[in-house]
């Protein structure tokens, strides 16, 4: 429950960030007087070498980080669910063919692939990031969904659905998939935490969201070359990432416990 409260708080902050941010996140407030200032009452998280307010940038950066995480996981989960469901339900050669494709794709290191694609892309917007992360993240989802569908398709109620004249598509999408959903939701939740980290890493490397638009990763990057002097540039966005990812993981673990009847009594 504490995890959920933190996640809700972070999402609310991201939604109202433009209203509560004390300054314009991309404005240079005074390149001579206000650059690289440590935290103070006027600038609780300090300012960066371009005299921008770090608190405002962290607040606005949460929007990009969370939106990229949520939407790319949604993309990956949708693709992976449909792909895995078709493979699991069709079975036989179709299943073999589809899943060997997934095995092959999974043997490509994802981070290196992302770095290559993003480096070749040129200007990377949040939308590009969502598409690229989403399209490389569905492989493990498809494996999960396939194994769930494989287990469910021999159930009596699947035979019963066929016995009342349901088409294969109806049987799969209306009867089998809803029953396979809870592990998918758990994995998607944990996936959000992963993608927040992944996006931060890519942005830190300069391959994610492009400055001056802030994201947690590139705010850290702005102070990385002087990390001893400008500690506040790394610590505050770092804390934002840490707290958010931990909260999302706690929620994911809670969902997993709730979805697994064998662990219900322990939790």
């Amino acid at each position: 429950m504490a995890g959920l409260a933190v996640v809700v708080a972070v999402v609310v902050v991201a939604l109202v960030a433009p209203l509560i941010a004390p300054y314009d996140a991309v404005a240079q407030l005074g390149i001579d007087t206000l650059k690289s200032r440590p935290p103070s009452l006027a600038h609780p998280f300090g300012t960066d070498p371009l005299s921008r307010d770090v608190l405002s940038r962290v607040l606005l950066g949460s929007r990009v980080s969370l939106a990229v995480a949520a939407l790319s996981v949604l993309t990956a989960t949708t693709l992976g669910t449909v792909y895995g469901a078709v493979a699991g339900y069709a079975g036989g050669r179709v299943d073999d063919l589809l899943m060997r494709g997934v095995d092959a794709a999974l043997s490509i290191p994802r981070v290196l692939l992302l770095i290559t694609v993003l480096a070749l892309w040129g200007h990377v917007s949040a939308a590009v990031l969502i598409v690229v992360i989403g399209c490389t993240g569905w492989l493990s989802v498809s494996r999960l969904v396939r194994s769930e569908v494989l287990g469910l398709r021999s159930r009596d109620w699947v035979t019963a659905a066929r016995a009342l004249g349901a088409t294969p598509a109806r049987t799969l999408f209306r009867h089998i998939l809803p029953n396979a959903l809870s592990p998918v939701i758990v994995s998607a939740t944990l996936g959000v935490a992963n993608v927040i980290l992944l996006e931060a890493g890519l942005s830190f490397l300069g391959l994610g969201v492009q400055p001056p638009e802030p994201s947690w990763g590139n705010v850290m990057q702005d102070g990385a070359d002087q990390i001893r002097a400008l500690w506040w540039m790394s610590v505050f966005p770092g804390l934002a990432i840490l707290i958010t990812v931990m909260a999302v993981n706690v929620v994911g673990d809670g969902l997993r416990a709730a979805a697994d009847p064998r662990r219900r009594h322990v939790a």
């Binding site: 009596d156 109620w157 035979t159 016995a163 009342l164 349901a166 809803p178």
Partner: protein, 345 residues
């Protein structure tokens, strides 16, 4: 369909099964679960298929609706005719028009045969919507509530909003019946529908089934291992053993004068309440494996009457009297029954 071309409905059987053979690929070889079964069913008639576990009853039911797992194949010579149509020749969309609409099916365990995450009202409405695509969702729901009322569920309007796990076993089986009967099928296939229920609920469901059959005029193919249930329902009893029909007779005749030693054994194995404390009669041994049926008569190893002919020659279905058939060489040599009975006494 032209009435002039078709034979009169009273003469042509509703369902006619000829030489149905279904086999399963298994690790230990090809299992011939249904091995040359023939029977027919008239409109409004109730036929009970009786046999112990592993004799091929359920494989037969699933074969009739083509609901077999991918490891199963139906041999090319098999023929199933229903309402004048050859079911074996149907394509996928042809099957969808038969399943749930002309043939309803009730499964053994209503707990596992209902989708756990869909409200029961929606599950009943679903079959209505599949077969009447133009129907408004509200009308389908109303029809579902009517059907739940028909099957005697108390408070059907409220129950329709519940999930399967919120209902008792008897109520779930009533929901299954509502689904199977939704489109007024000409044939209802019921695969041990009362086996998972306790005895009083079983009696209620059987009474309901009989009542609904009278109202809707459908034929029932009832699969059971329980001869008591067969006695209560059947117009005709078909006994299966090792993938074959071994005896087929009108119900009164079957219970009065069973012929096949397996059938007489089954009847003797029923507990007799007029002699409490007696040891229950049993048939020794178990059904042989479907991957390797014995040569000759498949029941011979468990049969008190077996002699050399039973090993040498696979018995055909002998006609005992009008409508009464038995797959036993005793039909050809009736004297042996007396001799063996005397020597074992």
């Amino acid at each position: 369909m032209s009435a002039g071309l078709a034979t009169p409905a009273s003469a042509a059987p509703l369902l006619s099964v000829r030489d149905l053979r279904t086999s399963f690929r298994t690790d230990s070889g090809c299992a011939r679960a249904v091995d040359g079964v023939s029977f027919s069913l008239r409109t409004g008639e109730t036929v009970c298929i009786v046999g112990e576990s592993g004799c091929g009853k359920t494989a037969l039911a699933l074969s009739l609706l083509r609901l077999l797992p991918p490891t199963a194949t139906i041999a090319p010579g098999s023929s199933v005719e229903f309402e004048g149509r050859d079911l074996m020749a149907l394509d996928a969309s042809g099957w969808r028009a038969v399943r749930g609409a002309r043939i309803g099916m009730v499964f053994q365990d209503a707990m596992t045969a209902l989708d756990p995450v869909i409200r029961v009202g929606d599950q009943v409405a679903e079959v209505v919507r599949i077969h009447t695509p133009a129907i408004a969702p509200g009308a389908a729901w109303a029809r579902a509530v009517d059907l739940l009322t028909l099957t005697g569920i108390p408070g059907p309007a409220d129950r329709a909003h519940q999930y399967p796990h919120e209902l008792s076993g008897g109520m779930r089986q009533r929901v299954m019946l509502a689904i199977a009967l939704a489109m007024h099928p000409a044939l209802l296939i019921a695969d041990e529908p009362t086996t998972a229920l306790d005895i009083t609920v079983q009696a209620q469901i059987l009474a309901l089934l009989g009542e609904l059959q009278r109202q809707l005029g459908m034929a029932i193919l009832f699969i059971t291992h329980d001869l008591g249930v067969a006695a209560a329902l059947a117009d005709r009893v078909i006994v299966m053993y090792a993938g074959e029909v071994v005896e087929s007779a009108p119900a009164e005749l079957f219970f009065a004068e069973p012929h096949h030693p397996y059938a007489t054994g089954l009847l003797r194995a029923l507990p007799d309440l007029s002699h409490p404390g007696d040891r229950l009669a049993v048939i020794p041994g178990a059904v042989p494996s479907a991957t390797d049926w014995p040569r000759g008569c498949r029941f011979r190893e468990r049969c008190a009457f077996a002699w050399s002919r039973c090993e040498a020659e696979h018995p055909p279905l002998y006609a005992i009297s009008a409508g009464h058939e038995s797959r036993c060489h005793l039909a050809a040599e009736p004297g042996r029954r007396v001799v063996t009975a005397a020597s074992t006494a």
